[in-house]
């Protein structure tokens, strides 16, 4: 099984464990390049990958300026859903799209677990 297949399995498992709360998920390099995507067809995964990596870059910069340590995650809460980015290692991250009203606490736990698995695969 290739690394991509293993990552795809982790992403599929995350979606399965989260019921319909997770509407899309992608593993992305810190350079913004998508490793594996399970985003819906109407989403441009390449752009989302670049945005997710940039979000982590900006979040790290803000944390550094404020001297509050390294960020564990970045979450955008919008009126029609949520978007969560979690670093999976120094070189990769997990981008998760959630539906409005999703159980954020549960998805965070599942997403952290998935990020940890991706870290070990890479």
């Amino acid at each position: 099984m290739t690394r991509q297949d293993q990552i795809a399995q982790v992403l599929d498992q995350l979606r399965e464990n989260s019921g319909n709360d997770v509407t899309g998920v992608a593993a992305v390099g810190m350079d913004g390049i998508v490793l594996v995507s399970r985003m819906s067809a109407d989403v441009n995964a390449d752009r989302v990958g670049a945005v997710a990596a940039t979000m982590i870059g900006v979040t790290r910069r803000v944390s550094n300026e404020l001297r509050i340590g390294m960020p564990d995650e970045a979450i955008i809460q919008a009126d029609k859903g949520l978007f969560m980015v979690i670093p999976a290692s120094d070189q990769s991250l997990l981008a998760v799209n959630l539906r409005q009203g999703a159980n954020l606490g549960m998805v965070r736990l599942e997403a952290r677990d998935a990020a940890d698995k991706i870290k070990h695969i890479l």
Binding site: M30, G32, I33, V34, D46, R47, T54, G57, V58
Partner: protein, 139 residues
């Protein structure tokens, strides 16, 4: 393909690398390399589309020539591509006179990925004396 209008009747398409570096360096410092690499990828993709080379699966020799023409002295003057070698889908590209590592790498990723219809990523293997060796390979 992005429609970029250049309304500069006197100055034309070119500007100083110094201006580019202020924009690039600050964006990269504030937001990380992804934003610059992505901009380069878009440019590389659009360039190949404009050249009609999408999915053309050309040899590395042909790609080298086309990209050097498009990006070098007679093109946009982004950089000079000194050599390009392909082995098992992995491209080793030596570049000189580049303004920025991340942007140039993004252009190569976008261009080679679009020519080969393969999702690519890249890394800097070495950099010294104004010469950089990139490895562009499938994800």
């Amino acid at each position: 393909m992005r429609d970029i209008q250049i309304n500069r009747p006197t100055l034309g398409s070119f500007m100083s690398v110094v201006c580019f570096r202020y924009l690039n360096d600050d964006a990269q410092e504030l937001a990380g390399p992804a934003v610059i690499i992505d901009a380069g990828r878009q440019h590389g993709h659009d360039l190949i589309e404009a050249l009609g080379m999408m999915g053309s699966h050309q040899t590395s020799h042909e790609i080298h020539k086309e990209l050097n023409d498009a990006l070098g002295t007679n093109g946009t003057r982004l950089c000079l591509i000194k050599s390009m070698q392909e082995r098992d889908g992995m491209y080793e590209v030596v570049v000189t006179e580049y303004p920025c590592l991340s942007y140039t790498m993004g252009v190569l990723i976008g261009a080679i990925g679009t020519i080969t219809s393969t999702r690519m990523h890249g890394k800097v293997i070495s950099e010294s004396n104004g010469e950089c060796l990139y490895c562009i390979e499938p994800v």
